[in-house]
Subunit: 294 residues, 2 copies
């Protein structure tokens, strides 16, 4: 295991063989795959059935997996010569009974059950451990394709006002305070009011709620005020779970009549930067990469 | 003002003249009015138009108010000989433009506008200050009718399991952590997962969300696990804003397929204790008054 640890701390090299990219939902897995391929490295996609989009998977070498098909992954990834694995894309946490259990998974059941009793962080770090125990190295999107991370400053034309910046600071502090409880990665703050805190409903669900409460006159602050703030949870494993935004997040923030979106620079993935900038300009909202408070 | 402060710290006496009870929505204002009347004190209801239920108001001496009709209240409360005021019931925070502004309010506008820029706590403590400046004493429901506070221990037959007690402890700690951000007073925790944190949507909205996410298979924990935890915000003025539960809360928690409800004993109002106990037993969930963590 000493060797494995040394390998873990070494920066990944393009010469390390193909990257096994376990793909959940959304466009992000393909954005990462394209960036890795552009860097000259081969990618083998392992799309998860029910989460990944079959139409988008076609153009890459791929091997479908059901959730929790551990043995199938190990066999195929080894046959392809992969040593590095990245988990990319949205993953709906499945009900325990819906897991397709193969023999590799069966042996892991007691451990997985213990993970299930913890929050997401426990579950994901447990998954990482399983793959590491089989000799794989887990890499984050920020390691295999750093160009997809949000830079400091505005994406698009608009910038936050002084009031927006105060809302951003309050949102970041709130997310920091709830970090130990493994809640969510996002909140909406408007003119110093916390309008919403994300938990099981996800960012989309939270923004839809703001739009709906506003339609019912339940939001005290005016339309056009308020910021969606997203930040990684303190202590989360950034190899497997970085906050992500895309053009759809921009559309939903605009539907909720917010002033803009703030995400932590260098620690948030932007799936399609040009599309995000265009969507932000079209919706007349800002999208800005900010520093995390000390 | 020294006298006013001395009066504030003295316990209210039944001989202090009639109680002016400014009534928002729900059954709670009437429960408090009945308890105060049973103690031998006269009550004058000041129901707020659009919030209070006209049918329920009829049996009490009453004077309708629009939101922010300060002068009308001051005139009528003085004419009735009231010195003590209690604000009871749900208040939907109105959009600023919907406030009915009379002359008394007009003079206060700059101050109210400043309050509006803060969270609810600022708004409510500002309102208290306005009434105190006019010589009124603000009393909480827990002072005029302490029998409506939640006692320690179960209300109804069922009690929390060991797992439920762990969820309760986690929920109380989370609510304590978000207290400084003036968010909400409630969260849902199931098998150590934080499923929801209440903000602008209110407790009803949060419980409806859990029920809906569960119907869509988005809740990872099994039905019958999970607790609604409600606690006062740290530092909030308990005279004007204590968490409240009633039979409807029980029904909604049952619809969300939770195991039960935990509220802080001595710091939560239960509008109709017998109806709450009956609803809890019928829905087979627990409702328990707990101590707040140190």
């Amino acid at each position: 295991m000493a060797d494995a640890h040394a390998a873990l701390s070494a920066p990944p090299q393009p010469g390390d063989g193909p990257l096994a990219l376990i793909a959940g939902g959304g466009s992000l897995p393909m954005a990462v795959a394209d960036a890795v391929i552009a860097r000259g490295r081969r990618v083998v996609l392992f799309p998860i059935r029910g989460w990944a989009d079959p139409a988008r998977v076609e153009k890459y070498p791929h091997c479908w997996l059901a959730v929790a098909q551990v043995d199938r992954f190990l066999r195929r990834a080894r046959a392809e010569g992969c040593r590095d694995v990245a988990f990319i894309g949205t993953a709906v946490r499945p009900p325990f009974r819906a897991l397709r259990v193969d023999w590799g998974m069966f042996r892991l059941l007691p451990r997985v059950w213990r993970m299930y009793r913890g929050g997401d962080d426990h579950l994901l770090s447990g998954v990482v451990k399983v793959f590491e125990d089989h000799g794989f190295r887990i890499l984050g999107a920020h390691e295999v394709a750093p160009e997809i991370l949000v830079p400091h400053g505005p994406i698009g034309t608009l910038v936050p006002s002084e009031r927006d910046r105060a809302d951003i600071a309050r949102g970041l502090a709130l997310l920091h305070a709830i970090g130990p409880y493994d809640v969510g990665q996002a909140a909406v703050v408007a003119v110093n009011h916390v309008l919403a805190v994300e938990a099981a409903e996800g960012t989309d669900g939270m923004l839809a709620r703001i739009a709906e409460l506003r339609a019912r006159g339940r939001i005290p602050t005016p339309a056009g005020a308020g910021v969606l703030i997203k930040a990684p949870k303190p202590g989360q494993d950034r190899r497997i779970d970085l906050p992500t935004i895309g053009p759809r997040t921009v559309t939903e923030a605009a539907n909720a009549r917010l002033a803009g979106i703030a995400i932590v620079a260098g620690q948030t993935i932007v799936a399609e930067p040009h599309a995000v900038a265009a969507a932000a300009d079209a919706a007349k909202i800002f999208v800005v990469g900010v520093g995390q408070p000390p």
